[in-house]
């Protein structure tokens, strides 16, 4: 964007902003892929949750008497489309965005919002990068990838005290982030890994790694990466007669893990978002959402994001800076639980649950 268009855009935005207070509405934009293939199905879930939350708020009299309106900004889960969707949000004079759904789209759109002083809150983008760039108006109402590493490491330090721990990752952004977070948390708990290593994503032969783990007498391995590699590592470990326990992240929440690892996958642990549907506190919202189809976690998290933002706006007014300060200062009761945000805008202690694979299915672990 050259200086001239930038000037024109901000002039437009300023003109619209001047007009905005005349409206007696509060508008939230919802940044989702509304069109564009398979991912649009998840976008529909987010929309289901967000619209239900808006309806519930308006039924109770809106935000301080003003009606809450939701505008869809279609980003097709694509960074380039997300930038144009964000520019449309700017031109409509909307100051608050719920979304975007995808990490790539969120990161691209947040650049536009940051320049224009618009506050955004995603409830599904988990890439750490989103909140690592010092933007004051970016919030994340869900866990971020590397926080799973923290949760898993605390679990390991707690339940496997005195055992020999190894940390292995696949050198990818997701995997290495998990492993580094786990390592740091373990170090804080006074646990030094007995072995640290990495593998190549796409590799098939892990026999050397397995022999190494066996040689070092490792009891438990934290693995940062996806199910394709860990499935093979587990399989080859069992083949080599190594009964070490493996702990991974939400990449393992797919049946493909079990079909690769085989029966030896039993006992493998991983962090994953708790199933909101099972919570007693979410039942009334669940009943409401079910009228329009079976909701999944995305619907609940977007419901919660709208709740949170509406609460903050009700308390702090319609200026994004003030709302951001309010979000950082308070706790928010939502359908999925209590939200607290840290200085970066990430959730403090997002709710990850340790799941365990057994007999071809996973369930919360009993350990």
């Amino acid at each position: 964007m050259n200086a001239m268009t930038k000037l024109m855009l901000s002039a437009c935005a300023a003109a619209l902003l001047a007009a905005a207070p005349a409206r007696a509405d509060v508008t939230f934009a919802l940044g989702i892929p509304a069109t564009g293939g398979q991912i649009a199905a998840i976008g529909a879930q987010a929309r289901l949750g967000a619209e239900a939350a808006v309806k519930a708020i308006n039924d109770k009299g809106g935000i301080k008497g003003e009606k809450l309106v939701l505008e869809i900004a279609d980003d097709q889960c694509d960074p380039k489309s997300a930038v144009s969707a964000a520019n449309q949000v700017v031109s409509k004079g909307i100051r608050f965005v719920v979304g975007h759904l995808c990490s790539g789209a969120s990161i691209a759109a947040s650049g536009v919002y940051d320049e224009e002083g618009i506050l955004m809150m995603t409830a599904s983008a988990t890439s750490p990068e989103l909140t690592e760039r010092g933007m004051k108006l970016v919030f994340r109402a869900c866990g971020r990838d590397d926080q799973q590493g923290v949760v898993a490491a605390k679990f390991i330090a707690d339940k496997f005290k005195g055992k020999k721990v190894a940390i292995v990752h696949d050198k990818q952004v997701y995997g290495q982030g998990l492993a580094e977070a786990a390592k740091k948390t373990l170090a804080d708990a006074g646990v030094t890994p007995a072995y640290e290593g990495s593998v190549n994503a796409g590799e098939r032969d892990f026999s050397a790694l397995v022999a190494r783990l066996k040689q070092e007498g490792i009891d438990i391995v934290y693995y940062g990466g996806y199910h394709t590699e860990l499935g093979l590592i587990v399989r080859q470990a069992r083949q080599a007669g190594l009964e070490t326990r493996f702990v991974g992240a939400d990449g393992l929440a797919t049946n493909e893990f079990w079909s690769i690892a085989g029966e030896g996958g039993a006992g493998t642990l991983f962090t994953f978002s708790a199933d909101v549907k099972a919570k007693p506190s979410a039942q009334s919202v669940y009943e409401e959402l079910k009228k329009k189809g079976e909701p999944d976690n995305f619907a609940f998290y977007y419901y919660a994001a709208v709740q949170t933002l509406a609460d903050a706006v009700a308390r702090a007014g319609k200026e994004p800076e003030a709302v951001a300060a309010d979000l950082r200062a308070n706790g928010f009761e939502t359908v999925v639980g209590t939200f607290r945000f840290d200085a970066k805008g990430d959730l403090i202690d997002p709710e990850y649950v340790i799941f365990e694979w057994r007999d071809g299915a996973y369930a919360p672990t009993k350990l």
């Binding site: 290593g197 083949q239 085989g262």
Partner: protein, 304 residues
């Protein structure tokens, strides 16, 4: 010491698979002097065919694992050999006698074509096979280290040794082998004395593909997870093995494969696992610096 033996066994298993694929590279080079870059993809197709046959047999209720594997071995070898035959017929034979680079480019094109074809027909996701051969055979102990070897590793090494022995016999004792060696020495002269050169070359591709198919089957059983891209890395390592052993030499291909498997395993055992490919290729560069023809390769004699 026990740890060393464990890693030695791992390296031998891996090296056997590389060796089987490497034979296809080295034979084709020996006979027509080109690198068949599509060979890794033929291996990948072999892996897919073996998976399909194994799953079909399981559907049909063939419960005896050795029988199922034997049937799969034969069927996979036959079907993959057909692929090898067709590839040669379509992509290389029309270019014979053309300039030297033409079949090479054609091979790269074929490789990309086959990769994409399988990706489109079978999808890009990993295809899993549950473990079919489980169990370990104890080998006694060194100190307090229990030595044992997985059944599937024994199967891989035994199948490779048997095939290698059989194949060496074919090349050294049969009419086909004689024709192959004749073509290798001087194609035009061989033609003049009545050797059917086209048929010999076709059969070379067929045999190479059949061996790659067996490697594909072993790979599928051992790792239990394949996708359309496995041919690339396996092909690259096997090609390296062929060059390391001396391209054009059959025992060289096997030796090269074993060496690469062993270097990978032992490097991973005693040093940083992430640098194992760096180690493999550094050793390749070193050996080629001092022995440009590879370990068992013959010096190219200029024919006048």
């Amino acid at each position: 010491m026990g740890y060393f033996v464990d890693q030695l066994i791992n390296g031998l298993t891996l090296g056997s698979v590389y060796g089987l694929i490497a034979i296809g590279y080295t034979m084709v080079y020996g006979i027509i002097g080109m690198i068949n870059f599509a060979h890794g993809e033929v291996f990948m197709i072999g892996a897919f065919i073996s998976l399909i046959v194994l799953l079909l047999l399981a559907q049909l209720g063939v419960a005896a694992v050795p029988l199922a594997i034997l049937v799969t071995l034969v069927l996979t070898a036959v079907f993959t050999a057909l692929w090898g035959f067709v590839v040669e017929r379509i992509a290389y034979r029309p270019l014979r006698g053309s300039f030297r680079l033409a079949p090479l480019i054609s091979a790269i094109g074929m490789s990309i074509f086959l990769q994409n074809l399988v990706q489109l027909l079978q999808g890009a996701r990993v295809k899993p096979l549950p473990p079919v051969l489980t169990g370990r055979i104890p080998l006694g102990s060194i100190g307090d280290h229990q030595l044992s070897v997985a059944v599937v590793q024994v199967v891989i090494v035994v199948v490779t040794v048997v095939l290698m022995a059989g194949f060496s016999l074919v090349v050294s004792r049969t009419a086909l082998g004689r024709a192959q060696r004749a073509c290798e020495q001087d194609r035009r002269m061989a033609e003049l004395v009545g050797v059917n050169v086209d048929r010999t070359i076709s059969l070379t591709f067929v045999f190479g593909a059949a061996l790659a198919a067996v490697a594909g089957l072993l790979y599928t059983i051992y790792y239990g997870s394949i996708d359309f891209f496995i041919g690339f890395f396996a092909g690259l390592k096997a090609f390296t093995a062929a060059v390391l052993g001396g391209i054009g030499s059959l025992p060289g291909a096997m030796l090269g494969g074993l060496l690469i498997g062993l270097i990978e395993a032992l490097w991973s055992a005693y040093s940083d696992i992430q640098y194992k490919d760096v180690a493999v290729f550094a050793i390749l560069v070193l050996i080629l610096l001092f022995r440009p023809t590879g370990l068992l390769g013959r010096q190219e004699v200029e024919k006048v």
